[in-house]
Symmetry: C2
Subunit: 188 residues, 2 copies
């Protein structure tokens, strides 16, 4: 019987390895050889799943974005109006979220002048803003305030995350939450 | 008489060309050949000024940061308490400032896992926060509020700038100012 290979799972193993390599050594650290070493696959197998480094980087970027969706699912299952939970799903508060930010930051350098990659980043932020707006609506915020407030909240989250990525000492989790708290209404 | 070459000026010509190339084509577009073409120097001259691409990138990053200092000097000469002017010196409100952000974003990918480059970015943000805090103090803000407020303002500026860099349509100058305005006290 031929061995059944779960290709999606294999691809995710490779993108997960790529995310680790990026967060530890930057994009240049992502090589077929290092990916093979990290995934214990042959270089042929690793190369098989991605046409080129660009495609691998895009998939790694999307995978980091999928992590946010997974975290959001958990938040929403508990409480669909948990605004703080939604925003914390994006903040670099633990190792996984810090790694996701490394991947996004690495991606931005290529996305600056690349229509397709720039579009991915643009859409990611627009989607996230829409999610925050939905939560605000669910929580009964006045409709005419929702868009501006979602924009303001996400702007703060991105500003915190960028600073925290390069200055974790100055931005421990408590401080990230503190700055966010100033913007959040108190919930009863 | 031998021709006198202003080496600092020459270096700035090369970093300015690098900034243009980055904003139009990303870091990969920065090659000795393209720099030579853009600066109308020989490839030998271009190579002479920078040990390697990393050094060129660091200098281009610092040059973008120097632009902020120049803009701040102009703001301070007019009004040392002009908080909005100080923050707008960093927002991507025109072509030069958008290009500066392209350079910083390009730099971040390399700075993620590089102690020296990461330190440059960290220090740049810390310095800028200190400048904002100074303006707040000058404007008579209560001392115990200054640090938190400077942190909040700079966080917003960074969050706006990152989004505007990838989504200029969604973030025209008026909207950038609008989001900033919500945080600024009204000045008489």
């Amino acid at each position: 019987m031929p061995k059944v290979v779960d290709h999606d799972a294999r691809r995710r193993v490779v993108t997960a390895a790529a995310a680790h390599l990026i967060s530890e050594g930057g994009v240049d650290a992502v090589t077929v050889r290092e990916l093979a070493r990290a995934t214990r696959c042959s270089t042929a197998v690793v190369s098989h799943y991605f046409k080129n480094k660009r495609e691998l980087l895009v998939c790694t970027f999307r995978e980091a974005t999928d992590h946010v969706r997974t975290r959001l699912d958990i938040v929403f299952a508990r409480d669909p109006g948990d605004l703080r939970g939604v925003l914390e799903a994006v903040l670099p508060l633990d190792e996984e979220r810090r790694r996701d930010w490394s991947v996004w930051l690495a991606f931005w350098a290529d996305a600056i002048a690349d229509v397709e990659l720039g579009g991915e980043q643009r859409q990611r932020v627009r989607d996230m803003r829409e999610i925050v707006a939905d939560v605000l609506r669910t929580s009964g915020r006045a409709p005419e305030r929702v868009d501006a407030e979602a924009r303001r909240l996400l702007t703060t989250v991105i500003g915190i995350a960028v600073q925290a990525s390069f200055d974790p000492e100055e931005w421990p989790p408590d401080r990230q939450r503190e700055v966010l708290d100033e913007l959040l209404p108190i919930r009863g």
